[in-house]
Subunit: 205 residues, 2 copies
């Protein structure tokens, strides 16, 4: 008989908790097993239901699978990230569509005027970055939901990747994400996490 | 016999997929049933394992439960969000700790010099906002994992809330989040989502 823990207070079963959060790790090596287009579509078909401001869904994903496409990325990646980026079965460039508001009459039909509220580009960039980053959070959970490991990487030349892959000027590159089946983990074991009392407090009055 | 769908390609079981994404909705009314501190701690104990840059974990959460604390918030909330903010069992103010780097020698012990890489405040604010927003994505998933509904709200006076609740100048307020058991849904049914082909493309070369 085991004492009840905080995990027992959740509606999500323990195996799913482990799959998505507790046992999941940011992978830094991968096996050769491919990530299929069908798996990617299944991940998106799940996480696209996550909420975004005005239901704007600004996240856009560019998949680099071929050696040629990967070779275009590597010069912009920091040296510490280069080996895993070269060897991951799939690399995703994650960006925000700054002109996501053009779709709002269709995506937010009960308030089609929302498009006009976002006429100012600077405010829209901030909204696009914020909602797309929320969606990256959902995406990392979704990759794990597919039984895969995600390897988010912030160490790269953002402006360079933007010029190389999104020269249209309407996208802001946010993150690179390696995807695959995890290989042996290199480096430190699970890093420490802040305690609830360090993160959450209740205002008394 | 049912034809296999994309949901069958995921390792996460269908009930969990529904709980976290497919059946989950952004709640705009709530029942009176409270959200307990133990539930909040259980949610955090799950989602704190989500990855952040440098393992920095900059998200900070201020819970408003008492009528007095709620009354301090309401003047800053847009009129369309006021009723649900007043009636939600719990409201969380979600912010990024801009000085999260002070903890890096402990949270990122294999590269304690990461603290110094983040000496520049402007770069650090961007990092803090980005990682805390990822964590809000995990948090929304975690609230649903607890069997609760989340109601994220971007319509409020950010600067005002920051002055009122985080006058220390080291936090950036990002979002308000109502939490509770959902009541009857008011407003449109599930809003349309972009198709995978509109969001994800593969670079051919």
């Amino acid at each position: 008989m085991t004492a009840p823990t905080s995990a027992d207070l959740l509606a999500l079963d323990r195996a799913a908790q482990d799959l998505l959060f507790r046992a999941a790790r940011t992978a830094n090596t991968f096996t050769d097993e491919p990530v299929t287009d069908a798996q990617v579509a299944a991940i998106h078909d799940l996480i696209r239901y996550g909420p975004t401001a005005y239901n704007g869904q600004p996240l856009r994903v560019l998949l680099l699978r071929s050696p040629e496409s990967r070779a275009r990325l590597l010069p912009y990646v920091s040296s510490s990230n280069r080996a895993k980026t070269a060897s991951a079965p799939l690399v995703a460039v994650l960006a925000a569509d700054v002109d996501f508001h053009e779709r709002l009459p269709e995506l937010y039909p009960h308030r089609p005027q929302a498009r006009d509220w976002l006429a100012d580009r600077a405010a829209r960039v901030e909204q696009a970055r914020f909602s797309a980053t929320l969606q990256i959070g959902y995406l990392i959970v979704g990759v794990r939901a597919a039984g895969l490991a995600a390897g988010p990487m912030a160490g790269f030349d953002t402006a360079g990747v933007q010029r190389e892959f999104f020269p249209d000027g309407r996208h802001e590159v946010l993150l690179l994400l390696n995807l695959g089946h995890p290989g042996p983990h290199i480096g430190p074991t699970r890093l420490p996490r802040l305690a609830t009392g360090e993160v959450i407090r209740t205002l008394d009055a």
